[in-house]
């Protein structure tokens, strides 16, 4: 009962302040994109490496955020789609000499196709769908590990070719970072546009109350399929960059723990918030790098972080930051 009232309250709040919310989203975009383009490139070295890793997982987390945070379609196999994207792109570049932009598009398409396949399972309602997404992740991981002829099995793929764009070979990390940051910026902007449009509103309605969404004439099944396919395609794009950073590709980058980590990123950052997904990804990638002495506590700490953030900050870091700034503004008035 209380949730419905709360949802109604937030919904009405959102509709009255729709314009300001729009402006706030673009302000957050400006800040995040500004940091993204300035920090890693000016600091260089290890920070550039961190920036590369953060950008990849930020892209992936954005995909998961629109699925889980916005549209309420919990996926427990997100890393599998990163894996599909990574293998598609690398194998095309390595074995067929396909240039990187085409391989990237192919990665997105392959992950989208797999996502569409998984989306067929939405006829399994609620709980059943969640466990099916987990099963999907397991199946993909086992195929990547065991189809040795195609993927090289658990030994992985070595000698990842350099990114080739329009005949240029991008050998440096700076070049790679520019490609990644461009992709992230574009995707982030597109997703903000999308989340304020008709489709985004339908996704959000789906996430808040599926029955109510259906009753006002939203084609629930079609939008669910759409958001799952879109989220998975974005994971495929993120996956396509991963091997170029690691210079190595192995199925172990796409396990259940990676899917979980992506879920923790968006929960910690704030379910439903696009900037939250990026903030969460940044924290979960950067923090372990500085706490390497405590590496054996990593997943334990992630678990505590997940539960603590859910209890203390139900709307995540982005939500807490937003209410903080709103509180200040009210004080100023």
């Amino acid at each position: 009962m209380s949730t419905i009232a709360k949802e109604a309250h937030t919904a009405s709040h959102q509709s009255t302040s729709g314009v300001s919310r729009h402006r706030r989203d673009w302000a957050a975009f400006a800040v995040i994109v500004g940091i993204l383009w300035c920090l890693p490139l000016s600091l260089g070295g290890f920070y550039l490496y961190l920036g590369l890793a953060v950008a990849i997982y930020a892209i992936s987390a954005l995909g998961l955020q629109i699925m889980v945070g916005l549209a309420g379609q919990l996926s427990l196999g997100h890393a599998a789609f990163m894996g599909i994207g990574a293998y598609t792109s690398v194998l095309l570049q390595k074995n067929a000499g396909v240039p990187f932009p085409a391989a990237l598009a192919a990665a997105a398409l392959a992950a989208a196709a797999a996502g569409l396949l998984m989306a067929q399972l939405i006829r399994l309602s609620g709980v059943y769908f969640k466990i099916a997404t987990f099963g999907f992740g397991v199946v993909v991981h086992q195929i990547l590990s065991n189809w040795t002829a195609l993927t090289g099995g658990s030994a992985g793929v070595r000698a990842i070719p350099a990114i080739g764009v329009l005949g240029f070979q991008i050998e440096t990390r700076t070049g790679l970072f520019v490609c990644e940051a461009l992709t992230l910026t574009l995707l982030y902007a597109l997703l903000i546009r999308l989340s304020h449009g008709k489709i985004g509103r339908a996704f959000r309605a789906l996430g808040q109350n599926e029955a109510a969404a259906r009753s006002v004439g939203i084609a629930v099944a079609r939008y669910r399929m759409m958001v799952i396919t879109l989220g998975c395609a974005i994971a495929g794009i993120a996956g396509a960059y991963l091997p170029h950073l690691m210079r190595f590709l192995s199925p172990e980058s796409f396990t259940w723990y990676e899917s979980l980590t992506c879920l923790i990123m968006i929960t910690l950052g704030g379910l439903g918030s696009l900037p939250g997904a990026i903030i969460g990804a940044a924290i979960l990638i950067v923090a372990p790098e500085y706490l390497r002495d405590f590496a054996q506590y990593k997943m334990f700490a992630f678990g505590i972080l997940l539960v603590a953030s859910m209890i203390l900050l139900p709307r995540g870091i982005a939500g807490a930051g937003m209410s903080l700034s709103r509180g200040k503004r009210m004080h100023a008035q």
């Binding site: 399994l124 397991v138 929960t267």
Partner: protein
């Protein structure tokens, strides 16, 4: 490998899946909660069993099982009271609750890794290596234990739920919490007891499973397959969970032999997805 032997091992693993799946179903019915930490509670139970065996070397195995189950049930009770109930009370969404149980699962499995170490452990008891001869086949000596405990637990649960006042209140709270609380059933207590019972049953399964395999922090993955079993047999139905456990256990063992053992986990999930696509409410589900 012999077909009958495979069938027996499938049945034994099926019993383990069934027990964990029963725990899933009980929590789902009592709290409307998909408990992704159930497998990790089973893993904790197996580790607690290990500590009991190491610290009390003389204790017979049939006493280790209930002792580990009781300790894990207390842990489950604490988890339900401290973490799950406040969230449910707030009317948190299903996504939130799933993430919460996932978080609890991560804490349990990685906490176990810190306490008991990252290397897989073997129960230091003769039962781990002993075999019996049944119809001339060598069968691990723990199989009769598994079968007996399984039968005893399911029978016990049946008696508990149909013949006792506690079981009646648990069922009442699960079916209609509001009406039950009017009748004087404490919903919070009923939820926590159901969760603790499920944790205890899972722990018993973990201790019984340990002699066939290793005890490791990754054992919780079994729990996810058990979840597939519970779903396949219709979530919330105890007979369904038992049947689902056997279908997954035998299906993946025989399927692993026929296809390839590397794909055993995939087979379990494909089996589940296939059955659900044909019968969306599960094997024991009612139409509608």
């Amino acid at each position: 490998m012999n077909f009958s032997l495979q069938l027996l091992s499938g049945l034994a693993v099926g019993c383990i899946y069934s027990l964990v799946a029963v725990g899933f179903s009980m929590v789902y019915r009592a709290m409307g909660l998909v408990n992704f930490a159930q497998g990790d509670l089973m893993m904790i139970g197996a580790f607690i069993g290990y500590s009991i065996i190491v610290n009390l070397p003389g204790l017979p195995f049939w006493l280790v099982v209930p002792l580990a189950a009781a300790i894990t049930a207390c842990l489950g009770y604490a988890v339900a009271q401290s973490a799950l109930w406040p969230a449910m009370q707030r009317g948190a969404s299903q996504t939130y609750l799933v993430l919460l149980t996932l978080g609890i699962g991560i804490i349990l499995s990685n906490g176990a890794r810190l306490v008991w170490g990252a290397n897989p452990l073997v129960y230091p008891i003769p039962l781990t290596h002993e075999t019996l001869r049944i119809w001339d086949y060598p069968v691990p000596a723990v199989y009769p234990f598994i079968a007996l405990t399984m039968v005893a637990l399911i029978a016990g649960l049946n008696v508990l739920f149909t013949r006792t006042w506690i079981g009646l209140s648990l069922r009442a709270a699960a079916d209609d919490a509001q009406t039950a609380s009017v009748m004087g059933v404490n919903h919070r207590l009923a939820s926590a007891i159901s969760f603790a019972l499920a944790a205890g049953i899972g722990a018993a399964a973990g201790v019984l499973y340990a002699p066939i395999t290793f005890v490791s922090a990754d054992m919780g993955m079994i729990g996810i397959k058990a979840f597939a079993a519970a779903v396949l047999g219709s979530l919330g139905s105890i007979p369904g969970s038992v049947i689902g456990g056997f279908v997954i256990g035998i299906g993946e063992t025989l399927g692993g032999q026929l296809v390839s053992s590397e794909y055993q986990d995939s087979l379990a999930f494909l089996l589940m997805i296939g059955i659900l696509l044909i019968k969306p409410t599960g094997l024991m589900g009612r139409k509608g």
